[in-house]
């Protein structure tokens, strides 16, 4: 069941932050509720921090443990300034709002229709699990043929919240408090409580595949050659 505006507000205002049913969306900035609330959704704004893709020093992207720090450049665009997203460029942004979902609520982030009509696409992985907390990282793509200006602080997407039935509610009833109920679900520390857009975090492919029994994994290794009197030789990449 999709949560209506009244239920969203009840969970935000009536329940204490330590209550497992409490919903956090902060800061919610509006003059009138109708500016950000629809009957069944809440508008979220674009935050000030972005991860812009770097030009790689190799002709491919290799999703391994080191890729989270090598893929992007962090940029801060203060409110009132803008970021130009070139045609066909993709960037990572984040919502201005920090959210914490209750133990029995899932969410989905959708591009606002007015934004979508400028051919800016927000979110290709829109699902948010119960108990998630943090500013939502937004994968933003300009799929149009012209550059588009993004202004931090503008409404860019909408959050739809859905109640999760029996299993989690049962855990909630058993647990009673946040600590115990959280202990029943895994804590994904990789994406716990971010306030900036977060780069993807991968394990090395061989470690991931070993979990399903794959013991031989092809890799693409960069090699450096050096000249010797006997011809070209491969240099140990660790040197």
């Amino acid at each position: 069941m999709i949560l209506c505006k009244e239920e969203i507000l009840r969970r935000m205002r009536k329940l204490k932050v330590s209550d497992p049913g409490n919903l956090v969306i902060t800061p919610l900035i509006y003059g009138k509720e109708s500016e950000v609330f629809d009957a069944d959704s809440v508008d979220l704004r674009l935050g000030s921090h972005f991860l812009l893709p770097k030009s790689l020093d190799q002709p491919y992207f290799y999703p391994d443990r080191s890729s989270s720090s090598s893929l992007h450049v962090h940029v801060h665009v203060p409110l009132g300034q803008f970021l130009v997203v070139a045609a066909h460029q993709t960037i990572l942004g984040a919502t201005l709002e920090f959210i914490k979902l209750p133990v029995d609520v899932s969410g989905e982030v959708l591009t606002k229709s007015s934004v979508a009509r400028t051919f800016i696409v927000v979110e290709t992985a829109p699902w948010i699990h119960p108990q998630y907390r943090g500013c939502l990282t937004l994968e933003i793509a300009n799929v149009s043929n012209t550059p588009v200006l993004l202004y931090p602080g503008r409404r860019i997407c909408q959050l739809v919240l859905m109640e999760v039935s029996a299993p989690i509610q049962a855990a909630m009833e058993q647990g009673g408090d946040l600590t115990k109920s959280e202990a029943t679900t895994k804590l994904d520390k990789n994406y716990f409580g971010p306030v900036y857009p977060e780069a993807p975090k991968f394990k090395n492919p061989e470690d991931d595949l070993l979990q399903i029994g794959v013991t031989r994994v092809l890799g693409l290794k960069r090699i450096r050659m050096y000249a010797t009197k006997d011809g070209w030789q491969e240099l140990d990449p660790d040197l």
Partner: protein, 366 residues
């Protein structure tokens, strides 16, 4: 990366300092180990040169340049040290332009201090007098900047300074009583911190904080003056009378000057006391402290978060990761960063709310 919300806040607070309206600060990430304020008289000279060949370019008349160690860029709590550096900027600015009576009183207190130490000997040894005058000026600035920072951001500044000096290994008993020509001793500085915090009622508001950093602050503040020693260089000690005269004559004038320039802190303490538990409850639950247009204010957020970080970080780790993780240094560092990020976000949110509220009434008809 730089702590943008903190810099925004500090710039805004700077506007409330008497004589500093329309001043601006620029933060530079530098490869130095310590925070530093570039004397802006040098910068003004360079700005004048630039203006001479780019006619349309004009630098703001009050522009401060503060260097921040790049290694500290992403952190929040230790970066509260920028308030001290802003103090240097303010001191330099008001010394040249302000006609504040307290400045005149401070300058005559410095003269009186030198007269007390040198009496009639100054004619015989003008070099020693000049050196002593420079030393007194350096100490004056350092104490001024510390007290200035405390007035703007409360006890969080003292805790940040303890953390920084601790990291640099300057908190050993031997080091803390040493006065150097450039700096008064840490013990003396912290004694003045505690005096100011008491005057402003911050000390009572944090009476229940049982943190190691606060204990260090208390212990250093309690050290008797007789333990203070002036070292002109690594081995040579200087005249003890200079310290005594500085503490008796100059320091009261510094306190008076700081109070005349900065807003009264009692209201800030009240706001902190009323919002502290809500802020800490949010952080404890792993959530950015909730902000509304009316509360909490950034100074309350910073102080409540710092107190929580100093006293309850292990509890938060235990809550989310279990008891064993508390001992793990990597885990501790990860959670420290998270608490700092949430604090920084709340400071940013609070300012967004405040700006929105202040302009809303003005622009609503549009």
């Amino acid at each position: 990366m730089i702590p943008a919300p903190l810099i925004d806040l500090a710039s805004e607070q700077l506007q409330s300092v008497n004589g500093m309206k329309n001043s601006k600060i620029v933060i530079l990430l530098a490869s130095e180990v310590m925070y530093f304020q570039r004397p802006h008289t040098d910068i003004k000279d360079e700005a004048r040169i630039v203006e001479s060949f780019i006619p349309e370019a004009s630098f703001p008349p009050k522009l401060g340049f503060i260097e921040l160690p790049y290694s500290q860029g992403p952190s929040f709590f230790t970066n509260l040290a920028i308030y001290h550096e802003i103090g240097h900027f303010v001191y330099e600015e008001i010394s040249h332009t302000n006609s504040n009576q307290s400045i005149a009183d401070l300058q005559s207190a410095q003269d009186q201090c030198l007269q007390t130490v040198f009496q009639k000997r100054w004619k015989k040894d003008p070099e020693a007098l000049a050196l002593a005058a420079r030393i007194i000026e350096n100490w004056t600035q350092e104490i001024f900047c510390d007290l200035f920072a405390i007035r703007l951001v409360g006890p969080a500044f003292s805790f940040a300074l303890i953390e920084i000096l601790g990291m640099l290994g300057f908190l050993s008993e031997k080091e803390t009583v040493k006065f150097h020509p450039s700096h008064p001793s840490s013990a003396c500085r912290f004694a003045e911190h505690v005096n100011m915090l008491r005057d402003d009622s911050w000390w009572d508001a944090i009476a229940d904080v049982k943190a190691n950093q606060k204990r260090i602050l208390e212990d250093l503040a309690k050290l008797p003056r007789s333990k203070y020693r002036l070292y002109v260089d690594d081995k040579t000690t200087g005249p003890q009378g200079l310290i005594t005269a500085f503490l008796d004559v100059v320091v009261p004038a510094i306190r008076k000057l700081v109070k005349s320039l900065t807003p009264d802190s009692h209201l800030a303490v009240k706001r902190f006391s009323s919002s502290r538990s809500n802020i800490q409850e949010c952080l404890h639950a792993g959530v950015v402290p909730l902000t509304t247009p009316t509360s909490p204010d950034p100074v309350s957020i910073i102080n409540a978060a710092f107190c929580l970080y100093l006293t309850s970080l292990p509890e938060i780790i235990n809550r989310f990761e279990g008891d064993k993780a508390r001992q793990n240094v990597e885990v501790h560092s990860w959670w420290t960063k998270r608490v700092e990020m949430w604090t920084m976000k709340a400071v940013e949110d609070s300012q967004i709310h405040r700006r929105f509220e202040s302009t809303r009434a003005l622009y609503d008809p549009l």
